[in-house]
Point group: C2
Chain length 672, copies 2
């Protein structure tokens, strides 16, 4: 008997295996083998996180026969748990069930510490749960006059965390709390990627059943969006967005910088406004999910550099002038109180992702983290389009980034009938190339305007960002506008929808009749879109020059706006470089996703920090070639770049309305 080898234990799905003396608890075996099996209560049969499923039979693959006697019978602790709380059939508590013979043990997905959150998009990476904050339940030694250490020191010993950092304000609660829990407590321990000592965030008497939560915040110039997320499973329990109240200090970032410059105390005023909004948003989400604010122990924040500085209470004046010096660029690890975020746990921690440069912020870093071009072979161009576009180009060998001042046209501003994306706004457009007759779709109505179901009394209120892009692109494709962006006259185009508008023409997109206004696309609208798209394209081309390439393999459009853009129409406009249409995709709110990734997995914080250091920044403002690219990109799609993929799928009529515009402008024709 003494010469027989110890029983062999094999864990699935990992395949990890090892021999352990009979009587070893399965959890102990799993820990020694590094098997990913959760346990909060320290093996006391309380938390039930370590549930496993012993499996029996012959496993040829593993060369082992697992018999029913190979796992010990339920002891009193396990029996009690099964009686009171109930174990799923075939499940055992890993901390109580013992190895008695050769055994195959399956670790179900819900017992894995590092659960995976599968994201919806096919190309998106999964998030592996490994948050910075964990719960740990321990039994603390009672005080002993003969070894008179403090209660806190014995708590640290029980947690096996001798260098645990404890907020001083917490010391006053410790003694009553330990006694209330009869020396059993559950601690929330924060230990991030920085190598800083672990921190006690909170403590509850006894064993705490319920999970902890974190808040992933995308702090935009216009809106603040937040996802309240479980830190054990990654599930989003509440999500909401509010307007950024700083809008009253200026719609775009530079006007907010000006506000800070012109008004003493202006930066502080804007700081207070955004902090209040953030705290209110957190409070609303906590209320919606019916949580205790104490249960929200972490937040991650992404934002552009100006919002970043204002949030931190830094006057953004340096960001308004060359050399656009950031006060701080690295990621920040803060306390909730540092941002007056009083509506989550007072000891809660906030992680702000790093900024890439004075114009390329933590939001762009979050997009890079979410889309991970640095992990892929194909050369990927990512554009996060807003009032500024942040553009990232590269692959696993090299990454570049820049920011380009697109202006607000893509958001529907500066457009005669432009409006925010809201019910009634035109979001899709098609123009018949023969009849030049448009049909539209509006937000809040699932049907095209030429379908009966669209309704005859539907009010159309304006054009949103994606609508104006489709409208302009369709006008180009239908030949009512030429490559230089000029709208032709009724005579030139053969459509009486082209009507004079001062010295230029405008195109009637929707006749409101009795239900609302007539909606036109004006020559001014076209110019605004041309400026915006030229800036975006010029930024992308600048990065391509830096990388020495003349095409990209993939294009990803990020941001709320990017989610609604039709790739073909964007390419007809020449917003983005030519690429196979099926390689142009939307990443949705990639910045917000980056914030969630950093919330759920602390190693991803280290990754985004390394990524930002690796990204080479290109400053469009001082690069002379940017101006050249900008001018050449004025044409639709472009004055010189050939756009072969686009032309393969969409013919573009070769029309010119130059002379007709009567402005004496030089005739200009290269392609299209």
């Amino acid at each position: 008997m003494t010469d027989a080898p110890d029983p062999l234990v094999i864990f699935t799905p990992s395949g990890k295996r090892g021999r352990f003396p009979a009587g070893t608890p399965i959890l102990t075996a799993a820990r020694q083998l590094g098997v990913d099996l959760e346990s909060v209560c320290g093996g006391r049969g309380v938390c039930s996180k370590c549930q496993v499923a012993p499996t029996f039979g012959e496993f040829a693959k593993h060369g082992v026969t697992s018999s029913e006697g190979a796992v010990g019978p339920m002891n009193a602790v396990e029996q009690r748990y099964d009686r009171v709380r109930g174990l799923i059939d075939g499940r055992r508590l890993g901390c109580q069930a013992t190895v008695q013979g050769d055994l195959v043990v399956d670790v179900p997905a819900d017992s894995q510490l590092h659960k995976q959150v599968v994201r919806k998009r096919a190309e998106a990476r999964t998030i592996t749960m490994d948050p910075a904050t964990r719960l740990q339940c321990v039994e603390v030694e009672q005080p002993d006059m003969h070894a008179p250490t403090g209660d806190l020191e014995r708590l640290k010993t029980a947690l096996a965390l001798p260098d645990l950092q404890v907020p001083p304000a917490f010391l006053s609660h410790l003694q009553p709390l330990l006694r209330k829990g009869n020396w059993q407590v559950t601690a929330a321990i924060f230990e991030d990627h920085t190598g800083a000592p672990p921190r006690l965030l909170d403590l509850w008497p006894g064993y705490r059943e319920t999970p902890l939560y974190g808040l992933a915040v995308d702090l935009g110039s216009t809106t603040i969006a937040a996802h309240l997320t479980r830190l054990d499973t990654g599930a989003v329990v509440a999500a909401s967005g509010v307007m950024n109240p700083q809008i009253r200090f200026g719609e775009d970032l530079m006007s907010r910088v000006s506000y800070a410059m012109m008004n003493p105390g202006g930066a502080a005023e804007m700081r207070d406004a955004v902090r209040t909004a953030l705290a209110d948003l957190a409070a609303a989400l906590v209320a919606e999910a019916d949580l205790d604010a104490r249960d929200v122990v972490e937040a991650t924040i992404v934002c552009n550099p100006v919002m970043h500085h204002i949030l931190l209470g830094i006057d953004p004046v340096e960001l308004g002038q060359a050399p656009f010096a950031l006060a701080v660029s690295d990621a920040l690890n803060l306390a909730a109180g540092d941002l007056d975020l009083g509506t989550i746990n007072p000891a809660g921690r906030v992680y702000i992702l790093p900024c890439i440069a004075g114009h390329v912020g933590a939001d762009a870093a979050a997009v890079a983290l979410s889309e991970s071009p640095h992990r892929a072979e194909p050369l990927t161009l990512i554009a996060d389009v807003g009032t500024n576009a942040e553009i990232i180009l590269g692959n696993k060998s090299k990454l570049l980034a820049c920011s380009s001042p697109t202006g607000p046209a893509f958001e529907g501003a500066q457009i005669a009938h432009g409006q925010r994306a809201a019910p009634g706004a035109i979001e899709r457009v098609e123009i018949n190339p023969e009849t030049k007759a448009p049909r539209i779709r509006i937000i809040g109505n699932d049907h095209w305007s030429d379908a009966e179901e669209f309704g005859t009394d539907t009010a159309v209120s304006g054009i949103c960002g994606s609508g104006i892009i489709e409208a302009v692109a369709e006008m180009r494709m239908a030949g009512v506008m030429d490559a230089s962006g000029l709208i032709g006259s009724a005579e030139q185009t053969g459509s009486d929808r082209c009507v004079p508008d001062g010295r230029t023409y405008k195109f009637l997109l929707w006749a409101g009749g009795e239900t609302g206004p007539d909606i036109y696309v004006t020559q001014g609208d076209i110019r605004a879109i041309q400026l915006a798209k030229s800036a975006l394209y010029a930024g992308a081309r600048l990065l391509m020059d830096e990388l020495g390439v003349d095409h990209v393999d993939r294009v990803v459009l990020a941001g709320a706006f990017g989610a609604h853009i039709s790739p073909k129409h964007a390419m007809v406009l020449g917003m983005i470089p030519d690429a196979p249409l099926d390689q142009v995709s939307s990443a949705g709110n990639a910045a917000g996703t980056g914030a969630r990734i950093a919330l759920c997995n602390k190693a991803m914080r280290a990754e985004v920090e390394a990524l930002v250091r690796q990204i080479q920044k290109v400053e469009t403002a001082i690069e002379p070639r940017f101006q050249e690219h900008f001018v050449a990109a004025n044409a639709l799609p472009h004055a010189s770049d050939p756009f072969p993929h686009l032309r393969a799928v969409t013919p573009l009529p070769d029309v010119q309305f130059n002379a007709a515009a009567g402005q004496g402008r030089r005739r200009r024709r290269r392609d299209g």
Copy 2:
């Protein structure tokens, strides 16, 4: 030439030596050899801290001839410094002067980074300056659009501190400050013994000339004393003490614990009182020394466990009952704001020394650090006498500590004519063994009462702690009181100063006449002193038992009270174990000195923490032998211990007044 060895440089007084290429700055050579030479400005000829004195001639001891040509001539930077600020004759700036040949260089004491503070008492150790906070002046790289790191990141690079921790509130000041200093700044960097990353405490534009300061606080039950200390030289620039305002919640510690137990919010009320007093005291010292509060960047605090907990906002209720559990026992590293210490630098750091046990606090730890019995061979007994006595016994092999409830008699309380140590209080007593006539000295008068210069109209107001000890001891030596503590009648003693007082007698120490009250020592006074000294002696004996010894080599009396006690009289009373009289000394305010040591030298923080872990705690309250020792110690000096050293210098009359007391008490005589 190429084969000639590089010049040899020898630094005195360290004797460190090495060869360096001609042209090497002396500071560079010093740093490479690990010579203790200060520099704040990073070798830019600004701070002048690195001044050295090249010395010339033949140095047979070092085997080198140092010629005048061995140090290079003054360069423009050094000439400018000499012209504008002036160099002492023979001094050179180590960062500018270069090695040109074999050279002996003296590092004057004021250029040493780790200056030594010589303490006044001969047996006291010197304090080597090595504070946790240092000043560092650097030139920060200006922002560069092509390498867009933040200003903070470039500051960290300039300081060569990549992991520098920066208070978030500081970020808003950084950019204007760097620009104001034209990219030169002086940083206060805090880096303590814990291995925690360095912390930025403050930043000044340009080069900061003036030193930083720290506050060493001895937070006693009755008084709060603080020393405002230069962190470069260790010099005390202002010192003050105030009454602890908590006195209104109870004179002694246990009545304050009771106050917290009986009054909801009582602990918070006491916390606020002591924090306000501490802040006010700091503000007063800063004003007295005419400093900017920002210049005070550190504080160290020593106190007993009850004060410790109240200061931290911890309800001290657990300290009032067995097992006397401390909430926290380890040393604490806090921010000034954690203690509402708003009158020093807002980013300032506070170090609270560790507690030894529920009854033996950080003040006792500070005494141990200051007296350092663990560094010596002789077996040393240290008693810090107050309302409680903290007693430490040991040597380099082993250390023990306990606390003993002496009560307030030694502080003049519970004594019929007792008073605090103040002008007019009797502090010295001698009684003529023949005539039984006393003579006294009072605080505020340099003469004995039998000298003409004492004056005939001097008011004597009472007896202070040291006075009552001398009085009782002298009564024992003069035979007006017997070994059991009974005062004899006039008949028994032959002195009409012994007058009836109810069923006992009292002794007239001072006839006030027209100038003040008659001052008596009553039988009740003797009993109070006996209780107090028995407790102290029993505690010491308990430690001696634990250590298995029957005598000690040295006795140190610490505390304000200890400073004024006559060793012989203390031994006649049997307060302390018998020892050679010349081995009984006073350490003054050793707790306060311990606080100063921890302020001036961060390694001493590690030392006191190790020391506390090493000290074995003995709990007097639950040790049955304590009662035995207490009873045996009631006699003066002792019922059974022989006190050979004492008897060799002072005969003690063998009198007994038992029967005369008329109380039927059992006759009791062993010795004396």
